[in-house]
């Protein structure tokens, strides 16, 4: 008796397993993924009454986190488009969520935007339909992370730089070079930090651009195999001196507060928090330049609510809304007009084109070299991810 139930159950298990494999194989073949994002809209119609946004945390606040922080309600009242929001923690999560087709609009960083375009998940944007586009800083428009062949795929939102943060007690004079976290990191062994993402390889590339010109790096996101290997070597030398890598900015705040970390890459918003707490830290933009982010609002190629989506792109580029959103997140806004609604624009060097020109904004590394070289193949993001795991070991 016992034996029969046993075999019967096993039969069920095997049956289930076979059925699920069959199901999986059936589903698996349906997903394709073209590279045609469709055409940009030429005119706007009636509002659909709702719009689904996919955004970085802090980009779309409707007062549910903090009643005082709300720039969604005015939009809903003006346009009649009811906003639903989903937030994501990494660019890759955003990429996966956009594939579901459930979202009309996404706020994409440069390390996601090109991949969205390549996968055909986002459509070109007709900026003539977005009145507020005009006021946006020219140095943010038509960039490699938001446009392809001169066709804009979205509206710039805000930007910031990855800065060198240091403890002023350990560094009485401000360091002027990234060498304190690379060639000289041994002096601060165990107390150096770095950003925990494959995209940090670009930081090493920026350093190599200045110190090893013979490598011929023109763009830190366009590395051929040899250049990537050089950057990886640099990061492997840095690795033993790293106390910890950070991706959660609260963790970095704590590490600088306790003194577990004394030098490393950081954001302006982190310095603002630390300054507020009276911690002896400061940030500097080193002479080699740096990496940074510049985020873009993009519209899904299969958006069911394109009119509300355009309305959102225009609204979030408007001075007041853009000021509220970028100020809440801690980054520079996209226009001078927005600065009229903010008092801290100077701290973020908003509109300072010289400052902005020293920033290499996050871009997705792809096989086709971003610096225009055609004689070699560049390393893509998958290769960077693998390299990053090997660096961490």
């Amino acid at each position: 008796m016992k034996r029969t139930t046993h075999t019967a159950r096993r039969g069920v298990t095997v049956g289930l397993a076979i059925a699920s494999i069959a199901m999986l194989t059936a589903c698996g073949t349906s997903s394709g993924g073209g590279s045609d994002g469709g055409e940009a809209a030429t005119e706007l119609g009636e509002m659909e009454g709702q719009v689904a946004l996919l955004a970085w945390p802090g980009y779309v606040e409707d007062g549910s986190n903090d009643p005082a922080v709300d720039w969604v309600t005015p939009f809903e009242e003006d346009t009649g488009c009811e906003v639903t929001t989903k937030t994501f923690g990494t660019s890759d999560e955003a990429l996966n969520l956009m594939k579901t087709g459930d979202y009309d609009v996404v706020s994409a960083s440069g390390d996601a935007s090109l991949r969205l375009v390549a996968a055909g998940d986002v459509a070109p944007v007709n900026t003539d339909l977005i009145p507020n586009y005009e006021n946006i800083y020219p140095f943010l428009k038509d960039q490699s992370w938001n446009s392809v062949d001169g066709v804009p795929y979205g509206v710039p939102h805000g930007y910031g730089a990855n800065l060198l943060m240091y403890n002023t007690e350990v560094f009485p004079t401000a360091p002027t070079s990234w060498d304190v976290v690379f060639d000289k990191s041994g002096e601060y062994a165990g107390k150096v930090t770095a950003y925990d993402s494959p995209i940090y390889i670009a930081d090493a590339a920026v350093y190599l651009m200045a110190h090893n010109p013979e490598l011929g790096i023109e763009n830190p996101y366009a590395l051929d195999e040899e250049q990537l290997a050089a950057a990886v070597d640099l990061l492997k030398q840095q690795r033993p001196n790293i106390g910890e890598y950070w991706s959660d900015y609260l963790k970095e705040i704590q590490a600088f507060t306790t003194g577990d970390t004394v030098v490393g890459t950081s954001w302006q918003v982190i310095e603002n928090v630390l300054e507020g707490e009276g911690v002896t830290t400061d940030v500097v933009l080193p002479e080699e330049g740096t990496t940074g982010w510049s985020d873009t609002w993009m519209i899904a190629s299969e958006s069911k609510n394109p009119n509300c989506a355009y309305a959102w792109l225009d609204y979030i580029a408007s001075p007041e809304a853009n000021a509220a959103a970028t100020s809440y997140f801690g980054e520079a806004p996209s226009s001078d007009e927005a600065c009229e609604y903010r008092e801290d624009c100077e701290a973020y060097h908003a509109g300072d084109a010289d400052y902005a020109s020293q920033i290499w904004y996050w871009s997705t590394p792809i096989e086709e070299c971003l610096d225009g070289r055609t004689d070699v193949k560049c390393t893509d993001y998958a290769a960077w991810t693998q390299a990053w795991q090997e660096i961490k070991g």
């Binding site: 999986l24 993924g33 999560e93 594939k99 991949r115 996968a119």
Partner: protein
Amino acid sequence: MTHATVPRPRETPARRVSVFLSTHPRARLGLLLSAPLFWLGIVYIVALVLLLVTAFWSVDSFTGEITTEFTLDNIIEVVTGSLYQTVTLRTLGVALAVTLIDVALALPIAFFMAKVATPRMQRILLIAVLTPLWASYLVKAYAWRSVLSQDGILEWLLAPFGGSTPGYGLPATIITLSYLWLPYVILPIYAGLERVPDSLLEASSDLGGRTWPTLRLVVFPLVLPAIIAGTIFSFALSLGDYITVNIVGGANQMLGNLVYTNVGAANNLPLASAIALIPIVIIFGYLFLVRRTGALDNL
């Protein structure tokens, strides 16, 4: 004398169903078990099969779509790649260290609870052991982060004796994981010791057995399955952990982190599945080794 006749029950649909079920025990059993078995099937078996199947697929690096063509690349990569070997060894080392520390700590505590303490004390100790389980895992890990920090309480305690905190790194990970999993090791050992009759200890002592021979020859063989049951918990939980090492592990990564970055950052689910197979294989190997000791009956 008249007997009130029991009226024949009305033929409602419910009654018909109940008659059917009472005469068909197999159908009854089937209905009773189908819901839990469905759950078991979907949650455990299908999820595992899915994991297994995904490991043999690959990802188109340009569009990020999963290609459902059979390939052994991921498995080969995971088995031969030096990164995965290093990280597997590190994870194994951490799991073994955590298990040893936990058993060393849990044995005396469990023995005291089961054999020495008064019933009242026993209950208090049991609650004390269980209390940390009520607090969130994250809170406890972050608490250790501040304890182990450069200006944390450990540094302050050790500084007068010339010591210092280990700082963030593998030792910190081992300390934190040992703390987190200790209750899971104490409880089965305590339960195992409770089942050792006091009369055996008395008999051993009557026959001239001193403390150590009694422990070694009488108690230990009896509680060995319970100890192994405890190690299964601490070993398996440590093997899959990636949050603690992220919080106090400094720049180190364990197998869980590799899975996490491959799912999250790299969007490479097939490779993540292949990596996830490593701890599964290790745990199956461990369970296979210990199954004869009867430890699995103590879980």
